[in-house]
Amino acid sequence: MRVPSYELAARPSQRAFVHLTRSLGGELDDVGKAAMRRPNFFGNPFLRLTQSLLRGPSAWSVGERELFAAVVSRANSCQFCVGTHGEIAAKELGRDVLARLDAGRFNPQAAAAAAFIEALTRDPNALSAADVERATAAGVEPDALAEAVYVAFVFNTINRVVDALGFKHRSDRHRRRGAEVLRRLGYRLPDLLLR
């Protein structure tokens, strides 16, 4: 990454955690490393929001929310985040889920919400009440659409950080394993590591 000191865990407990994940064949991804490096400035509030948004009680399934994350990341050309969240969405909803969404073969509510937040990502100033009406006509309640807008907020933020600072997966295997860990355990790190 382009902030090389963030590759290295700062504290002994964090270094032990990084070694433990490596011994298990994994690697904490660069977002996790940045979160540990800057717990107060970034890690704690960012992970709390992301965990609540993507794993908390919701109008949308975990897979649908991960799909929203992948759609926003794709609109921002953020390969790192598409690689992770597209993988989780595919595990939850089926291998070709993004292609099915593009082809109009996905549930109409999630598809309408995805179209709304994709437009919001690409050109927020071009969005209008007509876009909201299209989503509500497809059966999306305003509060459910608001939740999708929060997903768009998180990924419009983190996509930019990831790409500007050159965050990368160490290998395709690490990407897939990391996605599986996030799918199963969510977006939390032990409190001890975020002090």
């Binding site: 970034f42 709390r48 927020p124 459910a144 930019r160 950080v161 790409d163 500007a164």
Partner: protein, 113 residues
């Protein structure tokens, strides 16, 4: 008909909780302790910056972050910014782009949710 099935079911306090979590993140980034000044982070968040080289980088972060190159970041480093400063200004600018979209989206949905 599938298209008429309503998708709602958001718990009453769900959106309030998310709003609070966003506010905590914005407060940490814009007002918390850091290597850069609160003023510099707030300027990065708002898309204004007096230093031309830094302003050009932050503009790229906001508009097409995937186009940032190693050289762009090296340029910041040559101008005296270290990893912490680069991280803080990048996060602040990215957050500004995220919050701008959040505000547009929620306003179209009827303001405060």
């Amino acid at each position: 008909m599938l298209g008429r099935v309503s998708r709602g079911g958001v718990a009453a306090d769900r959106l309030g909780g998310l709003r609070g979590d966003v506010a905590s993140l914005v407060k940490a980034v814009l007002e918390g302790e850091g290597a850069t000044s609160v003023e510099a982070r707030q300027a990065a968040f708002a898309g204004r910056c007096d230093d031309r080289a830094v302003a050009a980088y932050l503009d790229l972060v906001r508009k097409h972050a995937y186009r940032v190159t190693d050289e762009d970041v090296e340029h910041l480093r040559a101008g005296g910014l270290d990893d912490d400063a680069i991280f803080e200004l990048t996060v602040a600018a990215a957050l500004g782009a995220g919050v701008a979209r959040l505000q547009v989206g929620l306003e179209l949905l009827g303001g405060e949710r």
